[in-house]
């Protein structure tokens, strides 16, 4: 039966090629456009650390004076001041906590005449590596004691290690950062969480990766170059050490709801305690963002990309309405054929099935075309210079999704026309002949 209906469907599609091509192109364009954007948004809103993200939290406390003008940067309070970060760090109320900031340094190997490289990385504190599960090819991170005594140690990405020392890890060797010697204590395996959630993610969270990590306190001590936004309030300059400038990111690891509520309590107490010292003039309102919530709060998927997704979905909607209309025309044009079949004993369900299968065939063809268009769309996205562009490619689930969407959409679009077709009465149509 199924094979017969399939045969009927193919015959019918061949009968009016222009119509068929029109419908297939319509499905293909709608599916292609929306799958391109769904894939882009899908890869952009992926979990950067799937195994750990559930236990990672970003504390948000706001030291800024109350009336935030409309023109001020709304994300100024997303970062912490150095004194607050150090207080939270030293309080050690969570099983793991780390403060961090973006870094830009010139680095070269100890060989004379070595050309310095301009690299970006992060200044972090000891727990960073264990908390985020940073994989090491050789060596490892540093300890709290190293943090406190401002140790001159550095961990390199495997790419930077290769540039400086060739293929073997340069553990124990010395690199020069600016004017200072640092000892290499770790070489990372490939580790490129996307988006780079731990960075100051305003705007550019994709396509970057860090070439090195070194202790935050050491960097402050040596006045190395920081990277990222620095927002200050009040008078007295933009010194990184003051309690009026926010610029540090801070992450904590909390393993269960009890620890989460305890940490919330701690943040509220800290806020009140700072108010007693004349800081944090706003009413006590600490927040703890789970990693994925933090990314959503920071709008990691840019507005333009979300807008493009909605545009593509709207486009798909119009295409689907179009298909419904075209299928309706196509099916009802065959009223005579249907009524003959009905008169010869075909039940309504069978007619319905026949046209359902015809819609599905269009869906499959449209899906194939849509897949090609989506691949073309993703290829064009990859040509964009944006950071997320390189991520834009389909995985198996997206591939399956494309076909399901195409076939599902077409069958859905075929429901009304098929229902109208199966309601054609046998007698009246025959009478006309």
């Amino acid at each position: 039966m199924f094979a017969y209906y399939l045969d009927l469907a193919l015959r019918s599609l061949r009968r009016n090629k222009v119509f068929t091509v029109l419908m297939v192109v319509c499905v293909g364009l709608g599916i292609g456009a929306s799958m391109t954007m769904i894939t882009v948004v899908h890869v952009m809103s992926d979990d950067p650390l799937p195994e750990r993200s559930g236990q990672l939290y970003y504390p948000h406390i706001d030291p800024w004076p109350a009336p935030h003008g409309r023109s001020t940067n709304p994300h100024a309070s997303d970062n912490l001041t150095l004194p607050d970060a150090m207080n939270l760090l030293r309080a050690g109320r969570a099983p793991g906590q780390a403060a961090m900031s973006g870094a830009a340094i010139s680095i070269h190997s100890e060989q004379p005449n070595a050309q310095p490289l301009l690299e970006t990385g992060h200044y972090v504190t000891a727990d960073f590596f264990s908390m985020f599960g940073v994989p090491f090819r050789a060596g490892g991170g540093w300890t709290h004691a190293d943090d406190e005594r401002h140790a001159r140690v550095i961990a390199l990405s495997s790419a930077l290690n290769r540039m400086l020392f060739g293929d073997s890890p340069g553990i124990g060797r010395t690199v020069r950062v600016g004017d200072e010697d640092f000892r290499v204590i770790g070489v990372l395996d490939d580790w490129h969480p996307q988006p780079m959630f731990y960075a100051d993610v305003n705007g550019r969270a994709f396509g970057r990766s860090d070439a090195f990590f070194l202790p935050l306190q050491t960097a402050l001590d040596l006045k190395l170059d920081f990277r990222g936004s620095l927002s200050c309030h009040g008078d007295g300059g933009d010194d990184r050490t003051t309690d009026r400038c926010t610029w540090l990111q801070f992450w904590v690891k909390l393993e269960n709801p009890k620890q989460v509520s305890a940490y919330m309590q701690f943040l509220a107490d800290y806020w009140r305690q700072q108010q007693a010292h004349g800081r944090f003039p706003q009413s006590v309102d600490p927040k703890l963002y789970r990693l994925m919530d933090w990314l959503a709060y920071k709008n990691v998927v840019p507005g333009d990309v979300r807008l493009q997704l909605w545009l593509a979905l709207g486009f798909l909607g119009v295409c689907m309405v179009d298909i419904v209309g075209l299928l309706l025309a196509k099916f009802l044009r065959r009223s005579n054929e249907i009524s003959v079949r009905r008169a010869l004993g075909a039940r309504r369900g069978q007619v319905f099935l026949q046209f359902g299968i015809e819609s599905a065939v269009i869906g499959v063809l449209g899906g194939v075309l849509g897949l090609a268009i989506a691949e073309l769309g993703l290829w064009s996205v990859r040509q964009r210079p944006d950071g997320y562009a390189q991520l834009a490619s389909m995985d198996v689930s997206m591939l399956m999704g494309t076909f399901l969407l195409a076939i599902g959409g077409s069958v859905l679009a075929g429901l009304l026309p098929a229902w109208r077709a199966c309601r054609i009465a046998p007698a009246i149509q025959l009478k006309a002949h």
Binding site: F19, L22, C26, L29, A33, W64, P65, P67, H68, G69, R70, S71, T72, N73, P74, S106, H108, P116, L117, L118, G178, D179, G203, K223, D225, H233, G234, D235, G236, G237, D238, G303, D304, R306, L307, Q308, L311, A312, G314, F315, G317, V318, C319, V321, D322, V324, G325, L326, L328, A329, K330, L332, R333, R384, P385, D386, L416, R420, A432, H433
Partner: protein, 418 residues
């Protein structure tokens, strides 16, 4: 021709009518908003920076092993290195003028603050004027090619130098006209005192320039896009930036010569691929996303209109085929070809008109939704009206082919069985 028979006929084709109307409504809603977005992006991209952009490029470089600017000796040394660079660059035959600078319009790296007429005011409180700061020397104005409308430009005597962390406010500045007008409405700003960043020490405005855009292009700079304050200052830090105006036609040569020249003056520095950038590249990078968005929206609109037109052609063709016999009867009873043509055109006008009216409501609703969830402004009525006319016209164009086929149906059809 009366519309009554058309309406009566449409009642027999409810599903098709609803589908065409719905499609026109959706298309109208999407296309109106998309074109509005395109218009906004184009407007954004065409904002003028206020500088003379041709023959201009920027050099950014970082010192290696330079002193930090924490003590006077370090600052003096950094300043010497910077002046050495400037002197060498100014000597180049391809170069017209050079100035040290902290940023340029559209560069998205900025130093922002606020201006008040009262000393020591809290920066974040309302009533202050937001501004971005540009630091440069006496050649900054001429190199940028900005137009001075009042007062005087900086002289060598005005130019100070200090480290990045030194918060001393300058004694004299030049501001853009929007700042001057806001601070001193109706009067001249030249010679007047004001206070920068909540300082208690006054700063005097010595000149007003017509226009200079801020470096930031994000929407957060929209409230002060042309509020710029120019300070006669060389910043001594472990990096430096020079804005260079090449002689006409010599920019490429001057840019090419830059890295080797700088390394020759002092090898202890780092330059990377981005270190020498023409202003055209800076502009392109700043607006790449906007241009991309506009093109994408445009393509989607065109395809959408095509799909809608194809849908109308398809359904109307079906109706024409279905009514072959009726058309033949009408023709046999004396209807002219043009009457049949008009019948289908009026029918389409009614459907498309109804769809377009629904579409207007949808377009406004969609705009309200976009305003809530994205950075969007209210759509001007003219966009919606143009969209309405465009879609009705699209419907008429799409219906023409099947309607003409209908008008060519021979009266003899009436005599045929089917």
């Amino acid at each position: 021709m009366t519309t009554h028979p058309i309406l009566a006929a449409l009642r027999k084709h409810k599903a098709g009518v609803v589908l065409i109307a719905l499609q026109i409504a959706l298309t109208l809603a999407i296309v109106c908003n998309a074109i509005f977005i395109i218009g906004q992006r184009i407007e954004r991209v065409h904002r003028v920076t206020g500088i003379d952009e041709s023959n201009l490029f920027l050099v950014t470089q970082q010192w290696v092993g330079a002193p930090d600017g924490d003590d006077a000796a370090g600052v003096a040394k950094l300043d010497n290195m910077q002046r050495e660079d400037l002197a060498a660059l100014r000597n180049l035959p391809d170069v017209a003028s050079v100035a040290p600078i902290n940023s340029l319009p559209l560069l998205n790296s900025s130093w922002n603050g606020a201006i008040s007429l009262k000393p020591g005011s809290e920066m974040r409180k309302g009533g202050n004027t937001r501004t971005t700061f540009y630091f440069g020397d006496e050649q900054m104005l001429s190199t940028l090619g900005v137009r001075l409308v009042a007062g005087r430009a900086f002289t060598v005597a005005d130019v100070q130098h200090r480290s990045m962390h030194d918060q001393t406010e300058p004694t004299v500045v030049i501001v853009t006209k929007p700042i001057a007008d806001k601070l001193f409405p109706g009067g001249s700003a030249v010679g007047k005192a004001m206070y920068l960043d909540g300082s208690t020490v006054p700063t005097t405005i010595i000149g007003v320039i017509e226009r200079l855009q801020v470096p930031g292009t994000g929407s957060w700079t929209n409230t002060f896009a042309y509020n710029a304050t120019l300070e006669p200052l060389r910043i001594d830090a472990n990096y430096s930036r020079y804005v260079v105006r090449a002689k006409p036609g010599r920019m490429e040569a001057a840019m090419k010569a830059m890295p080797s020249l700088l390394y020759k003056i002092n090898p202890m520095r780092v330059l990377d691929d981005d270190s020498v950038k023409s202003f055209a590249d800076i502009r392109a990078a700043a607006y790449r996303a906007d241009v991309g968005m506009a093109i994408l929206m445009g393509v989607v609109c065109l395809v959408l209109l095509g799909v809608t037109a194809a849908g109308i052609v398809g359904l109307t063709s079906f109706w024409v085929g279905q009514r072959h016999r009726q058309i033949g009867v009408r023709r046999a009873l004396g209807a002219r070809k043009i009457d049949i043509l008009h019948y289908f055109q009026i029918e389409n006008l009614m459907i498309a008109g109804a769809g377009a009216l629904i579409g207007v409501a949808l377009a406004v609703g969609l705009n309200a939704w976009l305003m809530k969830h994205f950075e969007m402004d209210r759509i001007p009525v003219v966009y919606v009206l143009v969209g309405l006319v465009a879609l009705v016209a699209l419907g008429q164009a799409a219906v023409f082919v099947p309607a003409r086929r209908a008008s060519n149906v021979s009266p003899i059809e009436a005599t045929r069985a089917v």
